[in-house]
Symmetry: C2
Subunit: 230 residues, 2 copies
């Protein structure tokens, strides 16, 4: 199993360490390094076509982001999420995204500023009509990312992004189990209204409720289906 590179060797100015971070993250998010699996530094290095050093550095970074754990002598272990982990992460996501919604509302956004959110909402609508869950998930993610980004707090963006990475596999797993997210669409509409009118308290509250629903659904699904490594 050699260079699973695909696209040839374009070094593109990225350092090997950065490449390792990105590729490993990608491999994890796409489940090609499945949750719970163990991998030696040297294996990963061979797989990525580099020496152990940049791989080591990458694993340290990814460990701080919660995607894996470095366990001396047992290889790096890809993180798996228990229902408890899920709950912890969603609590933080709920909180920080609600804050983001509040901040956006407080900033008195123009219609132009809100355009990406509108667009994402329209896409979600279309996706639901077409019962295209993948498309819905993509639009939903765009909506949330854009919302957080509009809040203008880089720290929030960084944390939310890292945590979303951690739960992305679980989302993918549950995407076809859960009901079509029509309610979610209504929530987004309500949030948009609150943002437009600059109603910060409502924005926060709507989004908070929205997120808490998602959180309960995810945790319940995981518990119910007995997923222990997601």
């Amino acid at each position: 199993m050699g260079q699973t590179e695909g696209s040839g060797t374009r070094s593109k100015g990225l350092s090997q360490t950065q490449r390792a971070v990105h590729e490993l993250r990608h491999l994890i998010l796409t489940n090609r390094l499945p949750a719970g699996s163990n991998h030696l530094e040297s294996e990963l290095a061979a797989q990525l076509g580099m020496s152990r050093t940049p791989v080591r550095e990458a694993t340290l970074v990814l460990e701080t982001q919660g995607l894996l754990k470095v366990r001396p002598r047992r290889g790096v272990q890809i993180s798996s999420l228990s229902a408890k982990d899920m709950e912890e992460i969603y609590q933080v996501l709920t909180e920080l995204e609600s804050l983001a919604a509040e901040l956006v509302a407080l900033s008195g956004p123009s219609d132009e500023t809100l355009a990406p959110l509108e667009a994402a909402t329209l896409d979600m609508e279309a996706a639901i009509a077409a019962e295209d869950r993948e498309a819905w998930a993509a639009a939903d993610e765009r909506f949330h990312r854009e919302l957080v980004s509009l809040a203008g707090n880089g720290r929030i963006s960084a944390i939310v992004s890292a945590f979303n990475d951690q739960v992305s596999r679980a989302r993918a797993l549950t995407l076809y189990i859960r009901p079509l997210p029509e309610e979610s669409l209504r929530d987004h509409r309500a949030l948009l209204d609150a943002l437009r009118t600059g109603d910060a308290a409502a924005a926060r509250d709507v989004h908070r409720t929205h997120r808490i629903k998602a959180q309960h659904m995810m945790v319940d699904l995981l518990r119910r289906h007995g997923f222990h490594s997601v």
Copy 2:
């Protein structure tokens, strides 16, 4: 190549990398590596009596925690906080600690569970009476850390801890400029009451307000005194 261990060789089971993380963090927090200063990997390595490898690994970790930035060819630069950074960080701290307060209230804590918070509050009281600001700061930090820890969400603890590290120097700087924190003491009492009675909404709100006050004070002080690198 010998162990150029300045302070005696107590390896204590820690890896060099971990030692580097801890020592560098300590050097930064105590301002011996001042905000804004630049340092070559090799200098730091020499200073810590180890090779560049563990130092590199440590800087990568500390970078993800926001304590420094690795700038190729220009050395690692110790982070300095602008008022904007301060605001971003405090927004997150406010949000997550308030959530923590809510969670603790929801858990219906026993008096025994709350004992550490009580103790910290008493210490703060004594410190204020004695006008001992250092002691007050220490007790205050204990209170906040314990509160977050009681919430039982490891992710919150990790984020709050990392962010507190980032603002600790600024806190130290302003400790003697700001008014004696008597109001802060009242806030803590109110929070304790809410926790005892299990009033989650009140707990969240009291702490949120408490934190927002602190945030404004810090940001104002920094702006007013024109600190640009803290």
